[in-house]
């Protein structure tokens, strides 16, 4: 490869050609990166189906992602529900339709806020840790050690994280929804004096099964996105401590962006 640089390249003298080829190089790099990510996910999922199976690794990941994020999810959910009820109440009061408060809180939680906020909280808490953990294993050559012991590092590191996330995050989302509705109940009924029959009765009437399955489907897809991006970024991190730091940051940024964009696309497709 070294002698290639010394060959004089004909026709690359003009600055316009330089710009065009740098655009081409950038495009090729993005396409290659996307292909690499797709291959990563494909093999991580395929390796789940192949022995040796280690359910204990998946259980550890459910513990880390699900149980570990539970307290922050509960806190976020409670206050989201409370603030939704507070804001919704004053808006609906202007039209004399406070009775719709329960429906407004439940629908916004179940359809949008539950899946999205859960995914974002999990990204911040577990996704970053996931990227850092795998990244450090890569730079300290523990991954090479695994390879030399004939353990597939993808199967050992990425697959259980993706599987654990797909199992844990939808459950966290369901807990988020219920706790958020309870938070709305605290503010709407206990603080602002709505009757609890109005709050829950109207909600039961308006929330359809398709809203709930849509929300859970969303959180399944977000779970896949977050765990996939985080373990990918860790697995292909750069050199040294700086590389791990960058991998962690870009895992969180890319997961967040994908979740937010994905949410818009899914909403327009689902409802």
């Amino acid at each position: 490869m070294t002698n290639q640089e010394s060959i004089p390249q004909s026709g690359s003298a003009s600055p316009i050609n330089d710009k065009i080829s740098s655009l081409g190089r950038y495009t090729l790099r993005i396409v290659a990166e996307m292909g690499k990510m797709a291959m990563f996910l494909g093999s991580a999922l395929a390796l789940l189906a192949r022995p040796p199976w280690r359910p204990s690794l998946i259980i550890q990941q459910i513990y880390f992602i699900g149980v570990g994020s539970l307290s922050i999810v509960l806190l976020t959910a409670l206050f989201t529900g409370m603030v939704l009820a507070l804001q919704g109440f004053y808006t609906l009061e202007k039209f004399g339709s406070e009775g719709l408060l329960g429906t407004a809180v439940a629908l916004s939680l179940i359809r949008e806020l539950g899946p999205v906020l859960t995914a974002l909280v999990v990204t911040g808490r577990a996704g970053s840790a996931m990227a850092a953990e795998i990244g450090i294993m890569v730079i300290t050559e523990q991954v090479d050690a695994l390879k030399s012991m004939a353990v597939n590092p993808l199967q050992r590191l990425a697959s259980p994280r993706i599987a654990g996330g797909i199992l844990a995050i939808p459950l966290l989302t369901a807990i988020f929804d219920v706790v958020g509705i309870f938070g709305g109940y605290l503010v709407g009924v206990k603080l602002l004096g709505l009757s609890s029959g109005t709050y829950f009765g109207h909600m039961e009437l308006q929330v359809k099964m398709s809203d709930i399955t849509g929300g859970i489907l969303k959180s399944l897809i977000f779970a896949l996105l977050v765990t996939w991006v985080s373990s990918y970024k860790g697995y292909y991190c750069g050199h040294g401590a700086e590389g791990v730091g960058k991998a962690t940051t870009s895992a969180v940024v890319l997961s967040t962006v994908l979740v937010l964009i994905g949410d818009y696309i899914l909403t327009s497709l689902l409802y």
Binding site: V67, I110, M209, D211
Partner: protein, 147 residues
């Protein structure tokens, strides 16, 4: 923490997640797992304007079921009503579509008839009243059709 301890806590987490999911689907989503304790009857209306699937069915102001399905048959709307098993309707019961308040949701009001024969599961309510069209009433009033 020991592996056993982790497994136990994960078990508790999964159970509480499933409980939350169950509450959402059964209580709010109206998911009927076994269809137990409920039966369906149908009623034909000339229009069901404003009535939605999932709307409540009431008798004397008490909720006794919900609208299961609305389909168009010829020029009429056929509504499937899902009622609690404890409700026995006589054959000449009347189903009318009403509004909660002036601008509220539409619901179906069932009034019990006097006949001794009951409507069987899968049967049909003969007497129905379509919703009152408030806009048409106001229009008739303004343009002087009401004498």
């Amino acid at each position: 923490m020991s592996q056993r301890g982790i497994e136990f806590i994960v078990g508790v987490f999964v159970l509480s997640g499933i409980a939350a999911l169950g509450y959402l689907s059964i209580q709010l989503g109206g998911l009927d797992l076994l269809g137990a304790g409920k039966y369906d009857i149908t009623a034909k209306f000339s229009t069901v304007s404003g009535l939605r699937v999932g709307a409540s069915i009431e008798m004397s102001g008490v909720k006794i079921g919900r609208v299961q399905k609305i389909i168009l048959i010829g020029e009429d709307a056929l509504v499937s009503l899902q009622l609690d098993n404890s409700i026995k309707l006589s054959r000449d019961s009347i189903a009318s579509i009403r509004t909660k308040g002036i601008l509220g949701d539409k619901y179906i009001l069932l009034s019990q008839g006097g006949s001794d024969t009951l409507i069987k599961p899968g049967g049909k309510i003969r007497d129905t009243e379509p919703p009152i069209d408030i806009e048409k009433l106001i229009g008739d009033f303004i343009f002087g059709k009401v004498k």
